[in-house]
Structure formats: structure tokens, C-alpha cells
Amino acid sequence: MGVKVWRWVFTLFLMLPVFLANAWGAELKVTSSTHYLWYQDILTSDNERDIAEYLRINVTKLDKEGKVNIYAYGRASKQISSSEDYQGRLYYFYLDYRDALNGFLDLRAGRTYVNAAAISGLIDGAYVDLKKVGPVGVTLFGGRDVRFQEKKEISVRGDAITGGSVYLDTLLNTHLEVSYARKYNDTNTARENVGFDFTTTPLSRVNLYGYVKYDLIAEATNELLLGMKFNPFQSLIVRGEYYESYPTFDTDSIYSIFAVNQYKEKSIKAEYVLNERCQLSAGYAREEFNDGATADLYEVGFTVKPIQDLQLDVSYEARNGYAGQLKGIRGRAAYRLLNKATIMAGADYDDFRREDSRNGYAKKYWGGLDWEITKNISTVVRVEDNMTYNYDHSYQGLFALNLKF
């Protein structure tokens, strides 16, 4: 999108909600976050400095019942350490009409995020949810596929997503959904998927869930997940999952013609709430890559609150097998000060062995402050020192000023 077009979009983005709020007497909420970042681009070794302005505008209660709302969110950024031009991203800008026609219809029109078992993405179009077509609901969505890369939008005319789903959630504690979607690259069909998603709790302490994404062009199951959660008593959840995936590619990618292997993963995880101040978690996964290549992944973690305003989070992860080894520990402490500010600090340590490639360790130390200066003004400061394979020290940081009005 050219700079002139962006100026128009941002002018509209800023002016239209304000105009609507005035004309209809609607409620206007603006959240602004101005960032100053400094970091090292490790590919070029250059120290970079950016400024970015994030703006979220909510115009609500456009009608008496508060069902019609407008939501907008975008970013403008500039790398001030180089001559790079201003960049912009419009994340969303849509009209939301909830519970229209006596609760029969939800509608989102404009730039909005859609998410279904068959596909997900950001579209310039519409999402419609017909919630009561007999015992089922029906969703329909379609529009231009919005893709971002390197701080800007890279979609071309003819990139699109269309689809819909039929779902049943009128059965107690059960959701069943079948979805269908197509993705277009420059008007050619790039993907055609069917998704199926379910969750049900047949017994009060047993939950079964899963989903399938089937690629109709490759005639292959792109992803399959089956899982069971067991809640033997209130403070413990144990789950087992089976997952498999088979990579598929857009039809215009040369990689779509190559044979690939299926990836399989079996895992078991547990979460245990010891008391209000202590929570434990542990997990194990067995990964299978075909032809005898496997990996084992272990993870444990805990969260404790030794005193009222202090929280400690620690997690450990170990991976061993195909593609490499990784042993990493991560710790974080957060202290709430006078109910107005949170001081946080953390450290990461990772020891890694990439298969036939680089070995080493990495450390990260960081500290930060999240300070609520007034009800509507707050600030976030974070500084970080990275000790990596490439650098003894690589510093980066963020200063953000947040305003709500």
C-alpha cells in the first residue's frame, strides 16, 4: 500500500470514530501506547532505535441497547536510527453488531480476525454468525486476506479467504463444529480445508476434545488432535493428548509437490493447585518424526506466592533427540508495590546442542517496571541483556507511555 493510501486510511481511522461518537452520542474509549525501543539487529550487528504509536479506538453504544460498536486498532512506526520510511499496520477496523435480530445474528464487517478449525487469518470483509438456525449455528466469512511482514502489509489484490462453519453448542457442555475454508493467492485457490472440532464432558470430571484439519487438495490430514482431560479432584487436572501433523503447502508453492512425513506426538501433562499460593505443573511429550527419529520433551514448573505481593514463577524444560538437545530454566519474580506498580525481574538460561551445528548456552537477564501513575496514565520500562552464541552482551529495552481516555 502506498504512502498516500496509508495517509487516507489513518485519517479515516482517526476521524471516523470521533465523528460517529459525536453524531450518535456514543461512548468513545481511546487507548494509546507510545513506544521507544532500542535493540540490536543481530544480522547486521547494528544498534537500532524505533518509535511506535499504537492506537486502539472503541466506539461503543452506537445504539440504545449497546449492540452496535466500532473497534479499531493500528500502529505507525519509524526506525529513527535509519532513513527507513514510516511503516503502518491496520490490525482491525470493524463494525460489530452483536445479538442482532433478537439474538439471532452476530456480525463483524470491516477488517477483522477470523479463526476456525479450517483456517484463520485477518480479512477485509465480513464475518456473520447465525446463532440459532434450529439447534445449530452457522458462520460465514470472507474477504481479502491481510498479510503482514516486516512491519508492513504485503497482501496483493486477489489474496482472499472465504469459508464458514456449522456448529452445535445446544447440547450441554458439548461443542461440535464442522468448518470449510478456501484461501486464494492472487485469485488462484491456494488451500481448501475442512475442519472438525469437538469438545464434550460426558462425565463431570472427564473432558474429551479434539480437532481435525483436512487438506482437500493434498487429500491429507494436515492436523489431528485427540485429547482427554481428567479432573479427579478439584485441584488436579491430568491430560493425555495424541497429535499428528502432515505439512501441506499452498498450491502455488513448488514445495507442494514433494513427499513429506507425518509428525506424531503423544503427551501427558498435569496441573496441581497445592493451595492459593502454590501451583505446580509437569509434562512429558514423545515426538516421532518417522524413520526412527524421535525426541523426548520434559517440562516442570511452579508458581509460588511466599508473601502477599510477591510471585515467583520457575520453569524447567529439557529436550533430547532428533534435531538437538535443549535444557533451559526460566525464572521470574514480580513484586506489587503499594498496589500501584509492579517491579519484575527474570533470568533465562538455555544450554543447547543443535544437531551437527552450533552448541552453546544463552542467558538472558531482564528487569522492568509497570507503573500505574494515575487511573489513565501508566508506563512500562524494560531493559534486557542477552548473552548469546553470537554476542557476549546484546542490550535491548522498551519504554512505553500508555494513555487511556
Binding site: 487507548t31 486502539r56 486498532y73 511482514q149 514433494f258 552464541y389
Partner: protein, 229 residues
């Protein structure tokens, strides 16, 4: 044919369940927006709704978020999804780091993620593509010194530009073809050995699916290797 059978089976199963469907409406949770997760248990205790937002919710949440008519929007604005999945940052989180281009990164990205990512990416290769386009990998790999990567399947011979394509490369490519795409977006290097009349790279069901790829890509993919197709 197979896909039709699956679609019909899924729809059939759904239709059977409809027969037994009860009248149950999802509850609006907007009034509980400011509750703490622990307070949810007051209603949800043994009610058939499993406690969520626990230690593994970072990975689990996509299952809930994919469902139509879900509860997410009762408490979270769409920006909450966007800030991780599309590089937003209107609610800066002091816990989160930023990438080499100044983008907000989710906490799944560990220290020195540039060095670790090739290992982490193998823990379910689909995960990367939930947030990144394939071209995201090419952005770095096209600039990086490829000789430094020392990939097991194609080690460079001394200081020459000749690579030894050993027997591992086929297995590695089949397990993680996306990683090949990171350095070779047009697969030019693959085509040298795998074009028409040479080593066949196609999957077993290629005869069944090749017409779809030919028609949907307008033959553009086929032309890279075949004169007639």
C-alpha cells in the same frame, strides 16, 4: 472420494447428535470480565466445565479460540489476540521481549531464540505458521551466512561451493520440508536432481491429486520441472 466420505461422515455424526440435542444456551460472561481465574471455580466447580487459563493455557487456548460463538470476546478484545499473533503492542507487557526487528514476542520464544529456534521449531513444526508466513524465515535466511549453518545433510566441501548431498537429506527434507523453504524459497537447488526424468520427489498419492495442483496453480508449479504436463 475420500474427502467426500469424511465430510459426509462428519455431517452425518452431527445430524445424529442433533436428534438428541437439548435446549442449552451458552452463558454470556461479560459481567465476570473483571473476575480472577480462581473466582471462576465458584460456579464451575464440578459443573462439567474444566478449569482453564492454567500453566498450559498458552498452548491450549487455540482450541477454545477456534470455536464459533466462544467466550473469549466476553473478556478480551480482539487486540489481545493480535498483540501476539500479528505483532501488536497496545497493552505492553513487561514480561515480554522484542524481536530483532522490534516486534513484540510471545514468551514461548526463549533466550537466544535465533540459535534455539531450529530445535524448538521441531516441537510440532506447524506451530511457527500460526503466526509467521513462510517468507518470514526467508527474510533472515536470505541474509545470513549459509555456510555457518552446517546442515547435516549438505555439508560444504572445504571452502568450495560444492555441497555433499548425503543420504540424510531425503529423510531430513521429508521430516521438515518447511526448513528447506527457508533458504531455498523456489527450490531451485532441489530441482537440479528432482526435475522430470530424474529422482521422483512426488508423494505416493500424487496420481490422485496432481490434477488439482495443476488446475489450481495454472500449471505454474508443474512448468518448473516438466515441459509437458
Amino acid at each position: 472420494m475420500r474427502n467426500r466420505v469424511i465430510t459426509v461422515a462428519l455431517l452425518g455424526g452431527m445430524a445424529c447428535l442433533l436428534v438428541f440435542s437439548l435446549s442449552f444456551a451458552r452463558m454470556d460472561h461479560r459481567e465476570f470480565k473483571k473476575s480472577k481465574p480462581a473466582e471462576c471455580l465458584e460456579c464451575h466447580k464440578a459443573s462439567g466445565v474444566m478449569p482453564n487459563h492454567g500453566p498450559f493455557f498458552l498452548k491450549d487456548h487455540r482450541l477454545l479460540a477456534k470455536r464459533a460463538n466462544n467466550n473469549c470476546y466476553d473478556c478480551h478484545e480482539q487486540s489481545y489476540c493480535i498483540d501476539c499473533h500479528k505483532g501488536g503492542g497496545v497493552e505492553p507487557d513487561v514480561k515480554k521481549s522484542t524481536s530483532r526487528t522490534g516486534e513484540y514476542m510471545p514468551t514461548t520464544h526463549r533466550s537466544d531464540f535465533i540459535s534455539v529456534h531450529s530445535v524448538k521449531a521441531m516441537d510440532n513444526p506447524q506451530n511457527c505458521y500460526r503466526c509467521h508466513q513462510a517468507s518470514f524465515c526467508q527474510d533472515c535466511h536470505s541474509k545470513a551466512n549459509r555456510g555457518m549453518m552446517r546442515i547435516k545433510s549438505h555439508q560444504r566441501t572445504g571452502n568450495t561451493q560444492i555441497f555433499q548431498w548425503n543420504a540424510d537429506h531425503a529423510a531430513e527434507a521429508r521430516r521438515s520440508l518447511q526448513t528447506c523453504e527457508a533458504c531455498h524459497p523456489e527450490a531451485d537447488v532441489c530441482i537440479q536432481c528432482h526435475s522430470s526424468g530424474k529422482v521422483n520427489p512426488h508423494p505416493r498419492n500424487w496420481r490422485d491429486i496432481k490434477d488439482k495442483y495443476r488446475s489450481e496453480s495454472g500449471g505454474r508449479t508443474c512448468k518448473k520441472c516438466h515441459i509437458t504436463y
